[in-house]
């Protein structure tokens, strides 16, 4: 399967703490994307990182990519209750030539 696999499946932290979630995959990739899904809503794109990039930032988000280990991580700094959501990695590459989503990490940020 070309599906990315997120780890952990669920994460509970307190407001102000950092949250780190990881994505591993098995094929070569063109790019890897992270999406957020609030309960009952559609997915929202967060960051796209290309295979020749190692790190990208967007506000409180930091994404790293290690193609040698076939893994990526999403770091959310200074978490807020509004960050409570499911986070999905999606990979583009391999033979599918389509974006393939993982099963997600459920993040709960408590006050």
């Amino acid at each position: 399967s070309q599906q990315g696999e997120e780890d952990p499946q669920a994460l509970s932290i307190q407001e102000g703490e950092n949250a780190t979630m990881n994505c591993s995959y098995k094929t070569s990739i063109n790019n890897l994307q992270w999406y957020r899904q609030n309960s009952g809503r559609g997915l929202v794109h967060l960051i796209l990182i290309r295979s020749n990039e190692r790190e990208k930032h967007s506000g409180r988000l930091r994404v790293t990519l290690d193609t040698s280990k076939k893994s990526s991580s999403l770091l959310i700094t200074a978490s807020r209750a509004a960050d409570t959501a499911s986070y999905f990695c999606a990979i583009y590459g391999g033979t599918a030539s389509k974006l393939t989503f993982g099963t997600g990490t459920r993040l709960q940020v408590t006050l």
Partner: protein, 113 residues
């Protein structure tokens, strides 16, 4: 939601009946996708379209058909609904495939009794 609407938002139907879900976009994006989301499976691609009248299958296309007669509309039809097709269905659009961001609609919750 980036100019994407889905209708209906909720539907309850009976096994064996045909069902059509509609996705409408106002962004003039070339690519449109239908996914289903189920617990433990994440999002799985059903069908996608790369232009008017140009469609292709995804990984879970059995029991589904699609049509795209206009750039802005992408229809998903369940030819004879089964209980295994109870799911949340999302439409997405992108300017290009894979190398670009996908924008998602709000979803349609379908229950097949």
């Amino acid at each position: 939601d980036a100019g994407i609407t889905q209708s209906p938002r909720h539907k309850v139907t009976e096994t064996g009946t045909p069902v059509t879900l509609r996705c409408h976009q106002t962004e003039n994006h070339r690519y449109m996708y239908w996914y289903r989301q189920d617990p433990g499976h994440g999002l799985r691609l059903i069908h996608y379209s790369y232009g008017v009248k140009d469609t292709d299958k995804g990984e879970v296309s059995d029991g589904y058909s699609v049509s795209r007669s206009k750039t802005e509309d992408f229809l998903l039809t369940l030819e004879s609904a089964t209980s295994s097709q109870t799911s949340v269905y999302f439409c997405a659009i992108s300017e290009s495939t894979g190398t670009d961001t996908q924008y998602f609609g709000p979803g349609t919750r379908l229950t097949v009794l």
